[in-house]
């Protein structure tokens, strides 16, 4: 009963012919395809954000460079931050949530496949809405942090900030919808035997991230609603003439903004926690502590927001409390670093491309962590905040941490996603270009900052002691840009030219590697019963997992009537052949997403005194949204 006879004719070819073409992507509800869409879209925005960085660095290459105007520069740095945070790193993580979580927990899809599609489409539309204005020199220019009252109509009368407020508001809907979906998926869709403490570390870290999203996005939603109402309806939340307090925005923003940092970094931590054991041939060192430290980071992440505000004058007591909370968060983070090193200790470390990126994450994130502790001390931070020292710090965290981790994940999971390897030579070129480039770019920023260079300035005089550092940073950026082009070439080319990968090309231990690459639409032909953290190692090399908790005995006596022991699935069928009901393709989520975006964009016209136009578009969008929602909810899933 555990084996399936091959069908009499090639089901595979038939299945793939049904699943190609634009429509199959527009109407898809398959978490793997949605993950792929996320990946491509986010990589596109990553390139856009990178291009913005290149322009920024070109302007700063030399004193009084005059390459772009002040207004353009301000748009560039605002959009670089906004793009990288909301349109690149978060969705790159989302690509992995989508692709991996169901595979890692042994599910056939996410809990709400159509909501998942909706999240993607809202993200895509919101991303376009935010990005297109820069082509017309009207992009948001208030910084990614959008501090009031600069962002109010009084000081920013153009449409620039309107795009930012609406765009982020819409992206928030996408993130929240996705978070509800993944929380439900992880709680409720795990295969039999997949207890919480057996979940792969990526799924665990993603699980923490979903809670951060659910709890951190409402405050910024509220902050943005206030700003939106101030801008479009004349309320007084940030109106200085009405006695508003600008710290309201700052508190609401950073109550979101600091957990957001962990939203950006924890998925990368999860990815390297998959990569390191695989390429060390050892299980993750101290799994339990890794889980608890992840939860601890997420929890403490909500208590440290005001360390972004040490210069605003909160008073000595508040400064001290937030300072100590911030130092506290260094402890679970440090534990992770040591546990990763211990994972490699006494292992057989193979320097494949994903492993190189994972090792680089440990080395580079440590630097960002240490500089982070340096400005957890408010008096020292007063010399550092809003200087290039901070820019250096968070790029070591976000580039050295998130981006390195995500690249480790991409090289690691590319064979699973496409069935083919990425080229190793090009991968190495990309890795070294990235590693050297990032250090050349961001290490000198520590010095330009401590030697007095403020952030967000579009020009500076020579002789300030910053010239050399800026020149180095600019050349470093060019190196990163070039190596990223190598990556893009590799990424695109390997889809058709890469060496063919089997189920388990790296010798990994988790469930996703037990099924074919790329996985069939139903993921698992039979529901696997999981007996340990590394079920595939149990199967292939039990000595490796002998020391960790198991329910081996139960493997013979399957607890769930329908499950079978974990095994490698090598045959491909269609879901129909197996009789597995799959969610039907539908474009209703896209329709609904278009409605949502339309509804919000109508507001833009309000500030041009085009009330009728605004109302027509907004009400039209709302009708589309509600109609789409009803149509979607009343049509069958499968």
């Amino acid at each position: 009963m555990a084996t399936i006879a091959a069908p009499t004719h090639a089901g595979h070819a038939e299945a793939s012919s049904q699943n190609t073409g634009i429509w199959s992507w527009i109407a898809t509800t398959d978490h793997k395809r949605i993950g792929t869409l996320y990946l491509w879209t986010a990589l596109f925005f990553f390139l856009v954000g990178g291009l913005e960085a290149v322009l920024i660095r070109t302007q700063l290459m030399k004193p009084n460079m005059g390459f772009v105007s002040a207004e353009t520069y301000n748009q560039l740095f605002t959009m670089h931050g906004t793009t990288m945070v909301f349109l690149a790193i978060m969705p790159l993580s989302a690509a992995f949530f989508n692709f991996l979580i169901p595979l890692q927990i042994g599910a056939r899809d996410v809990a709400f496949p159509r909501l998942n599609a909706f999240s993607y489409w809202v993200y895509l539309l919101g991303g376009i809405f935010l990005t297109v204005p820069i082509l017309f020199d009207v992009a948001p220019n208030g910084g990614w942090f959008g501090y009031a009252p600069l962002t109010t109509v009084q000081f920013s009368p153009g449409h620039n900030i309107d795009f930012w407020v609406i765009g982020l508001q819409v992206l928030g809907v996408s993130s929240l919808a996705a978070a509800f979906n993944f929380i439900t998926t992880i709680i409720n869709m795990r295969a039999p035997g997949m207890t919480l403490m057996r979940m792969p570390m990526f799924t665990w870290m993603s699980f923490v991230v979903q809670f951060l999203l659910v709890l951190a996005f409402p405050p910024i939603t509220v902050a943005l609603v206030f700003l939106l109402m101030d801008r479009f309806f004349g309320t007084t939340f940030y109106a200085i003439a009405a006695g508003a307090d600008p710290l309201l925005w700052q508190h609401l923003f950073w109550v979101f903004g600091h957990p957001e940092v962990y939203i950006l970094i924890l998925p990368a931590f999860g990815l390297v926690s998959e990569v390191l054991p695989t390429f060390s041939k050892k299980p993750l060192f101290g799994y339990n502590v890794m889980v608890y430290s992840g939860i601890m980071i997420g929890f403490l992440g909500f208590g440290v927001w005001a360390h972004h505000m040490f210069a605003v004058g909160m008073g000595a007591v508040a400064d001290s409390i937030f300072s100590m909370m911030t130092m506290l968060i260094a402890i679970p983070t440090g534990v992770k670093i040591f546990n990763w090193i211990a994972t490699m200790w006494a292992g057989e470390v193979r320097f494949e491309v994903p492993m190189k990126f994972a090792i680089a994450l440990i080395g580079m994130f440590t630097i960002g962590g240490i500089s982070g502790v340096m400005h957890s001390s408010p008096p020292a931070d007063l010399q550092q905040t809003d200087t290039y020292f901070i820019v250096a710090h968070f790029h070591y965290v976000l580039f050295g941490g998130s981006i390195m981790g995500i690249f480790a994940g991409i090289y690691h999971y590319y064979p699973k996603m496409t069935g083919r390897f990425m080229d190793t030579g090009l991968g190495n070129l990309h890795f070294w270009g990235n590693l050297i480039g990032m250090n050349l770019t961001f290490f000198p920023m520590h010095f330009s900052g401590l030697y007095g260079m403020p952030r967000r300035i579009y020009q500076y005089d020579s002789g300030q002691g910053w010239d050399l550092f800026n020149l180095m940073s600019t050349y470093g950026t060019y190196l990163i840009a070039l190596s990223t082009l190598v990556f893009v070439w590799n990424f695109v080319r390997s889809r058709t030219r890469g060496a063919v990968a089997g189920n388990d090309p790296w010798g990994a231990g988790t469930l996703e590697w037990s099924i074919p690459s790329p996985p069939p639409e139903y993921n698992f032909a039979q529901l696997p019963e999981v007996t340990s953290r590394y079920p595939l190692w149990d199967l292939k090399d039990p000595s490796k997992t002998a020391g960790i908790a198991h329910s081996h005995a139960d493997a013979m006596t399957i607890t769930d009537a329908h499950a079978v022991p974990v095994h490698e699935e090598t045959e491909r069928f269609t879901a129909k052949e197996l009789g597995i009901p799959m969610p039907l393709p539908t474009a209703k989520p896209l329709f609904t997403a278009v409605g949502l975006m339309t509804m919000f964009s109508g507001l833009l016209f309000l500030r041009n005194d085009l009330f009728a136009v605004a109302m027509t578009i907004t009400i039209g969008g709302a009708c589309m949204f509600i109609g789409g929602l009803y149509a979607w909810l009343t049509s069958p899933l499968e």
Binding site: S323, V349, F351, K356, P379, A380, W432
Partner: protein, 422 residues
Amino acid sequence: MPKLRLREAGPALLFMVVLLTLTACGDTVYPNTTFTRFTDLNSSILSLWDRLLFWGTIVFVVVEAALIFTIIRYRKRPGGPEAKQIHGNAILEITWTAIPAIILVLIAVPTVKTIFQTQAPAPAGALKVQVIGHQWWWEFRYPELGIVTANELYVPVGRTVSFELTTKDVLHSFWFPAMGGKRDLITNRTNYMWFTPNADLGTQAWNGFCTEYCGSSHANMRIRLYTVQPDEFESWAKHQASPAVFNPLAPAAPPATPVANASNRRPAVPAVDTAPAQPSTGYVFPIEKLPAHVVPQTPIPAGLDFDDALLAGGDATRGATQGFMLGGCIGCHAINGVPGAVSNIGPNLTHVASRHTIASGLYKFDGPTLARWIKNARHMKPGVIMNTIGRGEYDPGMKMTVTAGLDDRQIADVVAYLMSLK
């Protein structure tokens, strides 16, 4: 071998850290360095920083060394040992939780002490300075001395200066890297900060910056700080508190300026180039003592032409009585002693010619630059509120050509007038 290159990267980085940290002392190369002990505030901060850097370096070395050792020692080799299947070790994990915790306590205790020490109320007898942020310039008021000035701040060495920070519009942040940490200017709030320049600091000029993003010209909101000797400060303050030295618009009697140089009262005399400050006009930081890094270098944008020959013929009286009115200058700028010139939308110009920079440290204070600034300020400093005044100039803010406004000769008169306001 890629592996080897990684091995080299670690020590190289560390070397860079040490090397560049050592050079921190050289403030000729790094004139805006934060590694100074020039004030009590920054001494406290630097002591804390030294401790942070010490522990940071140790952690950095330990972690990176452990990482590099591990990946080299345990790299997969043909015939090498098999991976040992270790899953965890409670004692080790407790150890590397506890050690960072202890280090953090060693950082936290002096941190909290320094917070309370530096945020305590300023000692009695401090010199009060009100700092008011504007997009994109700084207004400085010395309420006890009756001084209102802009963008260039004089403080005596050896005396605590206590800043009261507010803003007229958006958020700004007030920072002199060499003097100590910054403090934000928050709309509808008042912030405080104080420091004491060392008594042995000497008469020196320093750079300061706005460090909270505040819009288009955030980069162009710079400050000059002059630490001067107490007697120099007294002389400067006394003169700054007096009304304008040259004042054809003043009521006839009594003379508005007790220390005014009589020669300045004769029209058509003012020298166009910066003449050395007259002794009777009070102390001014000597221009020849300005180090290169506090002299602005912003290039004047291309296409902003002015016939510099006209400057020699500029008539200060005509500038005061006609240009200053027709150009609308009086609408925004105060000149103490001039009836009607009381607005504080723009910087107070009473003693504008005693400053060394214009446009908040963006350009040198000299005739040709001043003329171009008056002609088209918005072209020289993006987003600035000051109108484009030159007739026929394109106003990048209003996106139209100015049809009224002043011609070059009238601007030369205004320049002559401003240059006389020592």
